[in-house]
Subunit: 394 residues, 2 copies
């Protein structure tokens, strides 16, 4: 007697999560150390020590009713102010506490944004491969996700197909850079092109097409590559940020939405974000961790650890003949499977205790996602399993 | 360019929250100590000391990646197990970790439940007066809230009108006891009657009508009155619990859903709750505070403090000629306004720096809600203001 829609969702329930449970089952049989679970983006790096210190400092020095109580639905004013100032310094924009809404992670933030803007049957465009949950987030509010097919050579956005996909129902575009699952970072020129197309199309249809930047991986970038800030490119942008990866706090569900004051109908939009936060049942982002992140804006996990993981695994896979774009950020590899059927390929990988996620979950069949946010030793130990897997297809 | 629906919501945005902001404005003019803000259910009692101790213990003794990382969408297994065992002991039921889903407070829990069960145009019944947010929570998933009108003498559910309101579109009933805003606790016999009616009507329409018990105030009960446990009354029940009030942690957004294994389609329902938690963007209840509440199941704030507040304010209001049902639980009084127009009455109260919430926000015009989860001294100091307010209408 659950709803019809949920019946379908339950039956197709997330492959990634199913894999997570499968990993735990295999670990019980073969021992944790012999299972190579590359299925979930659960960071293995510990949060910086300053996180623990801040929690203790706050508990010892601030009033418990303030720290654990309700505040404005958009979050503590001082926290939003600190974040705004940090962003201003880092990205040369001009935000204040009025431009920030604290959220229950980036997933919560995206839902709040989409609730605020979507009318039934509105379309939201994203670039394949993409985080599969976007489809649900849009559907939650009657929206429909439209995929722009991948450019398999670079996994950069296919801008020609993008422009063709926009129509008078297009309400928003979701981008995600550094990208899950490819690790690609959109360049300055890509963002300029996207902004130009959106400006032109907004004018053409007499509407505001929003750009939503899903940014849980912003700080996870390698080799000195810059991650451009979309508020500098397009005024009708929402940044959906999360501290899940930068501070290794995914379970705490803490992030924010940032909006520039130049956005069309700015005040109405901000009011909508607050109301959406309330009525979707978030009410507010978890209070203690709002205060914790405000004290850790300059901290982040050591990205070099992920970089070493990337290099070790990437080089090995390429040597084995995998086709793979070298990731510039995030902590995923997205190689082409040796057979067309990516689900079957993942099933076979499981025989070697390798847990990978089929690219189909990201709107990109024929590929697999490998989350390398695990220990270096785990990756080292997994290399022979990848070798055996590759040999199977030679 | 926000959505049409949100445009309406924003313009009518929560009176309670507007009042909260108004209180802060008045406090800046007249000084915090001269403004009597009875508008928000933000507990003034500090969390038990054991909460702070548990946070520190967990940070010092458990792995940071475990404490702050992703877990199953339904929450940590050991936390769910501890909660299930606590409920079993307290209420004589037979739950395990499989019967519990951790949630982002009760508001998050209600949204997860409604997402799981509602088809478009399904009806959800509740008893006026009721927490106004229920209307939004139902609407989020295409459901329609139907009110059963109040019994003004007792604010007990009007069971005759309840039965008449049920039809073949009725999917669920939300109850809230101890009640916000009346403080009424539903008795054993009331719950038996509700269960009987729902069983009969479910059979009549060949469906499962769910009973959803919104329980943020379960532990806030006075004078030894028992709050019966609905899982002992009706198998198709959801308990939506929150630690916001029992541990004074409303900002932390931590609660759970409990379901009995006897519920129709139990496994499918639990799977739906997990998927809903994920796709609504909650992903999981905040991780550290899951672990904290599991260590504080036996703790609660000192309810006697609220009881003293109730007695002081209730006795004073009755002496002034206010008609008011004496609350058995929660921390609200819900007296009849001296004039029919409750919004106007609240406007007038504001002239005495008294911030009250119109009963219209709870589907019960002509009444006002007074949240007495403030300090005893604040209530003492507010009594002359109530006296002046009453004199105005003599």
């Amino acid at each position: 007697m659950i709803s019809k829609k949920m019946k379908t969702f339950v039956s197709k329930s997330s492959t990634i999560r199913a894999m997570f449970e499968e990993g735990r089952r295999l670990a019980q049989i073969y021992g944790e150390e012999n299972v190579f679970d590359f299925s979930l983006g659960n960071p293995n790096l510990e949060p910086p020590d300053s996180v623990k210190e801040s929690v203790k400092y706050i508990l010892d020095n601030e009033s418990p009713n303030f720290v654990h109580g309700y505040m404005n639905n958009s979050g503590y004013e001082d926290v939003r102010k600190a974040i705004a100032e940090f962003i201003n310094k880092k990205h040369g924009v001009n935000l204040s506490e009025e431009n920030i809404v604290m959220t229950v992670g980036a997933a919560g933030g995206l839902n709040v944004i989409l609730k605020s803007i979507l009318n039934p049957d509105d379309e939201v465009i994203t670039f394949a491969p993409y985080f599969g949950e976007y489809r649900f987030y849009c559907d939650n509010f009657g929206g429909v996700l439209k995929e722009v097919p991948p450019d398999f050579n670079t996994f950069e956005p296919n801008l020609k197909r993008f422009e063709e996909t926009i129509n008078n129902k297009t309400k928003a575009v979701i981008i995600n850079s550094p990208n899950n699952p490819t690790g690609v970072i959109y360049s300055d020129s890509t963002l300029k092109s996207i902004a130009k197309i959106l400006t032109r199309k907004s004018e053409e249809y007499g509407t505001s097409i929003y750009l939503i930047s899903d940014e849980p991986y912003r700080e996870i970038a390698y080799d000195g590559v810059e991650v451009p800030y979309i508020l500098n490119y397009y005024k009708n942008s929402f940044v959906g940020y999360s501290y899940s990866k930068s501070l290794s706090l995914p379970g705490e569900r803490i992030g924010y939405i940032a909006v520039d004051s130049e956005m069309d109908d700015f005040e109405e939009v901000m009011a909508a974000l607050k109301v959406a936060t309330r009525i979707l049942g978030f009410v507010n982002a978890p209070s203690l961790f709002q205060r914790v992140v405000a004290r850790n804006l300059d901290s982040e996990v050591d990205v070099n650890v992920y970089k070493k993981n990337r290099d070790l695994l990437y080089n090995h896979l390429v040597k084995l003949g995998f086709e793979c774009v070298k990731p510039q950020g995030a902590f995923y590899l997205f190689p082409k499977a040796f057979i067309e059927d990516d689900k079957k390929f993942c099933e076979i990988a499981k025989e070697y205790n390798l847990l990978l996620v089929p690219g189909s979950s990201f709107g990109c069949p024929g590929y697999v996602r490998i989350a390398y946010c695990v220990s270096y030793e785990k990756i080292e130990k997994s290399l022979p399993a990848f070798t055996k897997l590759a040999e199977r297809f030679k």
